[in-house]
């Protein structure tokens, strides 16, 4: 397997707080990578740093052969790297159709025919968005908004999509439906998932990185990570076993 994403020695400090401390992460092609850790452990900072949403103090990011560290987010995007947000992010005051058109702009020359494109229709059918096209994005349920967010990102035909707690805030029924979608998503592009619930990561990720205080304390398949004493102590709490 070759590396799709190589982030080396990422550091970012806010005053005295290390959001990221010499963090090195590699994701291979065809691999689903997960990241877990308590609140404030640097998971979202890592995604923000990779996509160029926050500036790095040190470190480099190479995505699919392109250096994207120190560049604005649209550069990462054009190299094939896209992301979702922990707090879902869509153009809330616009209808769903407008959202898709705005998202498809950099990739489709003819915006008006975008929605009739076979690839786009396929994505809309898969995410069951076709009946919602006329609705305002801000008036959708959270699950619908997450599906819309996913569709908007997929219009770019990304190679990797980084998702920040994609099942956060969903009802138990919706969580199960979302996990089915995320498993199917792997057929379309590689995924990187932040979660703080272990069972989601276990079901979706081939390998897990465990974060504490901006540092990586474990990097292994989910079953191995779960047996790691340090992980159990640091993240799951000291067990009585």
């Amino acid at each position: 397997m070759t590396a799709l994403l190589e982030a080396r020695g990422l550091s970012r400090r806010y005053g005295g707080v290390h959001a990221l401390r010499d963090l090195t992460v590699t994701q291979h092609r065809g691999e689903a990578l997960g990241m877990i850790g308590p609140n404030g452990s640097g998971k979202s900072s890592f995604v923000n740093a990779v996509t160029g949403n926050i500036r790095l103090d040190t470190g480099s990011v190479i995505f699919d052969g392109t250096v994207i560290s120190g560049r604005p987010p649209h550069v990462a995007m054009r190299a094939g790297l896209t992301r979702g947000y922990q707090a879902v992010r869509v153009f809330a005051t616009r209808p769903v159709a407008d959202n898709l058109i705005l998202a498809g702009l950099p990739h489709h020359s003819d915006a008006d025919r975008l929605l009739h494109d076979a690839d786009v229709a396929d994505i809309l059918a898969w995410l069951d968005l076709a009946p919602l096209l006329e609705r305002l994005a801000g008036a959708l349920t959270l699950f619908e908004q997450r599906r819309l967010e996913l569709a908007m990102r997929l219009l770019a035909k990304p190679k990797l999509i980084m998702l920040d707690e994609p099942v956060g805030g969903l009802s138990p029924v919706e969580v199960r439906a979302m996990m089915v979608l995320l498993r199917e998503l792997r057929a379309r592009c590689d995924i990187f998932i932040i979660e703080h619930t272990m069972h989601v990561i276990r079901a979706l990720a081939d390998r897990v990185i465990v974060m504490v205080g901006g540092e990586k304390i474990a990097d292994a398949p989910p079953e191995e990570v779960l047996r790691d004493r340090r992980v159990i102590e640091q993240y799951l709490g000291v067990s009585d076993a």
Binding site: P73, M77, R89, F91, L102, L105, L136, A139, M152
Partner: protein
């Protein structure tokens, strides 16, 4: 719009026909041509404030830079208007981009404030550099452009009215083409959520600067036209109130649509001419309108109408 040609041809015919029909009525022609000039400004302001979500209160200042520069080149350096006009326009548009740089960092209200300061400084500069601008007295007896058709003749009266009407028409048509293009939609994405737009692959910095350049071109192109049309310029022609008036025409009609600024300009541009004897009343009316628009009609007349025509959301 799927078949724009009848509308384009019709509006072009109107822009040519109106000045010709009013050739014998100077006062009416003056009002109509003034409105065409405002139409150009409103279309340019709309590209920034309506489509990109950046409200530049330094807009009239750009017009002023271009007007003073062109008048200076013509009256002092002896240039032809036809050479001075494009040069002044380009220079002022680049200055407009420089003055727009704070928009890369400041959002919404904070950029409006910074542009207000820029506008104030520009107005003060127009007054302070009296050797170039003749200060508060202004520059009068600006000569009309030479005629492009008759050697030694000048382009005044109906000819100038026609030129301004055509430039105003072209300005609106170009803004309509831009708004419907991929670039125009990127601007909307930047307006709605710059960070999301970036994540979706939009080069936000480029889009903002390009929008500033194009909008400043509008502001700048109108300056020399205004100078030769009125025959007089002073710092008051390009002050904060002038910027606000242009913004008001856009916002009152409806920002972020092509019809909006058209409606706003048609209603508001002729207003001062009907209130000539009551100059202060005009500013009071404008002030009340600004309050009404911001509080009660954020979408302007166009937004208000299209809201009522659209079926209500569940």
């Amino acid at each position: 719009m799927s078949r724009p040609w009848p509308l384009l041809a019709g509006s072009l015919a109107l822009c040519i026909g109106l000045p010709l029909a009013l050739a014998g009525a100077p006062f009416a022609a003056y009002i109509v041509t003034g409105a065409f000039l405002q139409l150009l400004f409103a279309a340019g302001m709309n590209l920034l404030s309506g489509y990109t979500g950046i409200t530049p209160l330094s807009f009239a200042g750009i017009t002023g830079i271009s007007a003073y520069l062109c008048v200076g080149l013509v009256m002092r350096a002896g240039w032809s208007f036809w050479a001075a006009w494009p040069v002044a326009t380009l220079v002022a548009a680049f200055v407009g981009v420089l003055l727009g740089l704070p928009a890369l960092r400041l959002r919404g209200f904070y950029f409006v404030l910074s542009s207000l300061v820029v506008q104030t400084v520009l107005t003060l500069a127009f007054t302070a550099f009296a050797s170039l601008t003749n200060g508060d007295t202004g520059i009068s007896q600006i000569p009309p452009p030479s005629s492009p058709f008759v050697a030694g003749g000048t382009l005044g009266g109906t000819g100038l009215d026609l030129l301004i009407a055509l430039v105003g028409w072209a300005g609106v048509v170009i803004s309509w083409r831009l708004a419907g293009s991929g670039f125009g939609r990127r601007l909307v994405a930047v307006r709605e959520d710059p960070e999301l737009a970036e994540t979706l692959g939009v080069d936000v910095v480029f889009c903002k600067l390009a929008a500033f350049f194009i909008s400043s071109l509008y502001a700048a192109a109108g300056g020399p036209l205004m100078a030769v049309f009125v025959g007089f310029i002073s710092p008051r022609s390009f002050d904060l109130l002038a910027s606000l008036n242009i913004w008001l025409m856009v916002a009152f009609g409806g920002q972020g649509s092509i019809a909006g600024p058209l409606i706003g300009t048609l209603i508001l541009a002729p207003l001062p001419s009907f209130l000539l004897g009551y100059y202060q009343v005009k500013d009071i009316i404008y002030g009340l309108l600004i309050i009404t628009v911001t509080v009660a009609m954020p979408g302007g007349i166009h937004g208000w109408i299209s809201n009522r025509m659209r079926p209500r959301l569940p």
